[in-house]
């Protein structure tokens, strides 16, 4: 599903964020990308949804090289990849419903279908009751749920989550990770960048560990530390 080949990212300042990173994620797999801050986790995710470009190496999504992608094709790539951000990236002056529906507005979809699909996904993340509230009126965990709902509302085959529990308390973090696991069972490949040790140790999945931009471990059902 996702193939990363000898990926290197060097910034103009000389800082190397990723170096020779090589790994593959199979369809419907759930992978943790772990490592300390600055290890290159976010950079890697950004390059998968083309918010950043590698200096060297290549990324393939379903055997399609992102090297070949044109500016016009980027939106279509992003529609097939749902992204959950640590800072949620919600529109503060739109309701929960509008925030989620936002990701469907530009698809050729009727209003009734949009309403149905948004309601279903809000049901899944447990926010149906709060659909008319503004994000600012909700807790951090609830805001993260809106972000997840928006990321999966058009059923993308891939879901990327960048530190989805970064600003949440342990209980809420646990709920969010359960939700991501549930989404994984609905035929979605999930890649989660996190440094939340407790979560990785409790909900065991494949772990790819990064340190200083290099992969130091790739282990099925791994823990945060080897």
């Amino acid at each position: 599903m996702i193939k990363i080949k000898r990926l290197t990212k060097r910034y103009a300042s000389g800082v190397t964020s990723l170096e020779n990173v090589d790994f593959e994620v199979q369809k419907n797999e759930f992978v943790y990308l772990v490592g300390p801050s600055g290890a290159g986790k976010s950079t890697l995710l950004k390059m998968i949804f083309r918010a950043d470009v590698p200096t060297e190496g290549e990324i393939f999504i379903d055997n399609f090289s992102l090297k070949e992608i044109t500016q016009r094709q980027i939106p279509y790539l992003r529609r097939s990849i749902g992204v959950v951000f640590q800072d949620f990236k919600l529109l503060p002056n739109r309701t929960v419903f509008e925030n989620v529906a936002f990701a469907l507005q530009f698809l050729e979809m009727s209003r009734s279908k949009i309403r149905r699909q948004v309601s279903q996904v809000l049901e899944l993340v447990g926010l149906q009751e709060k659909k008319d509230q503004l994000p600012g009126e909700l807790s951090g965990g609830e805001q993260q749920r809106i972000c997840i709902a928006r990321a999966i509302v058009n059923n993308p085959p891939i879901l990327l989550a960048d530190e989805p529990t970064g600003s949440l308390d342990p209980d809420t973090s646990w709920d969010i990770m359960q939700l991501l696991s549930k989404i994984n069972t609905r035929d979605t490949t999930v890649l989660v960048a996190t440094h939340n040790r407790g979560i990785v140790d409790d909900i065991r999945k494949r772990v790819v560990a990064l340190e200083n931009g290099r992969i130091v471990r790739d282990q099925d059902y791994g823990a945060y530390y080897s």
């Binding site: 918010a51 992204v83 529109l91 936002f102 507005q105 530009f106």
Partner: protein, 295 residues
């Protein structure tokens, strides 16, 4: 497409509702800039009108040589009539001219001082376009056989000609500069409303919206702001122009102020058109810049 257009309009409506103050300021700025622009247009039209009005009051007096037969005089009159710029040629018989002159200066008792008529026969030449007066006058002065002297209020005519050209050229330059300034102001105002929503644009891009899709609502917003602003400015200009126009007309009755509905409506319509155009263009340029800035 229709669904998209409906979405753009509803998004623009949401933006108007939610960033009210920002939009209000933007419309206000557009209104003020277009009022200044319209004012220059109206002043320019009036100055042009004054120039033409004064020029139209100027005529050529062509004094004929003594001894010409009436046949010669009428054939020369016909010849002048054939010049395209000439509207009319009126023959003024020297006896009539002398009578009028004596009437005008009755208190001088001219009959006692001058016993014979010293005035020559003359033509009063009226032109279609008085801005060509100098050229026509010098053309006529070449007819030595008929013409003894030619008077055409030369200096005033030249000055008026220069004034009219100055008004025209100056007006075009001023309107050009002002159009650019208006575009600049409107662009920056709309840019502020766009920057205010840079976050929204970035999010739209991240969730897979295409650039035309993101731009749509902003362009509709720019268009609506442009139309609103320009219509407000036309309202203000219309009110102010008629109010002050009538006041000026009352105090300086001989000053020809343009009240012609066709001319004025053309100006007002061009302001609305310019407002809509600048609003759309401003939004287009702003959003283009913001799209580039977003990842």
């Amino acid at each position: 497409m229709i669904r998209h257009l409906a979405f753009f309009i509803s998004e623009a409506y949401i933006a108007f509702r939610r960033s009210g103050i920002m939009i209000f300021i933007a419309i206000g700025t557009i209104t003020v800039s277009l009022v200044v622009f319209g004012l220059v247009l109206l002043i320019n039209v009036n100055m042009n009108n004054v120039a033409h009005f004064i020029a139209s009051k100027i005529e050529i007096r062509l004094f004929l040589k003594d001894g010409l037969t009436m046949n010669e005089i009428s054939s020369f009159q016909e010849e002048i009539r054939l010049i395209p710029e000439v509207k009319d040629v009126v023959f003024v018989h020297k006896d009539n001219a002398w009578r009028e002159f004596k009437e005008q200066y009755r208190n001088l008792s001219l009959s006692d001082l001058v016993h014979t008529n010293p005035l020559p026969n003359a033509f009063k030449v009226i032109l279609n376009n008085n801005l060509t007066i100098k050229r026509i006058a010098s053309k006529l002065s070449l007819q030595n056989y008929y013409v003894s002297d030619i008077v055409y209020g030369g200096l005033i005519a030249e000055r008026m000609e220069r004034f009219a050209t100055l008004v025209k050229v100056g007006g075009i330059i001023l309107v050009g500069i002002l159009s650019l300034a208006t575009l600049f102001i409107i662009f920056n105002t709309i840019r502020l409303t766009v920057i205010n929503r840079q976050n929204e644009i970035t999010i739209m891009k991240l969730v897979g919206a295409t650039n035309p899709f993101i731009s749509g609502p902003f362009i509709i917003e720019g268009l609506i702001m442009g139309i609103f602003g320009s219509m407000l400015s036309v309202g203000l200009l219309k009110f102010a122009y008629h109010f002050f126009g009538i006041q000026i007309q009352k105090s300086i009755p001989y000053l020809p102020i343009v009240f012609d509905a066709l001319t004025l409506n053309k100006i007002y319509l061009s302001i609305v058109f310019l407002g809509a155009l600048l609003g759309t263009l401003g939004a287009l340029l702003s959003i283009k810049k913001s799209l580039k800035a977003a990842i």
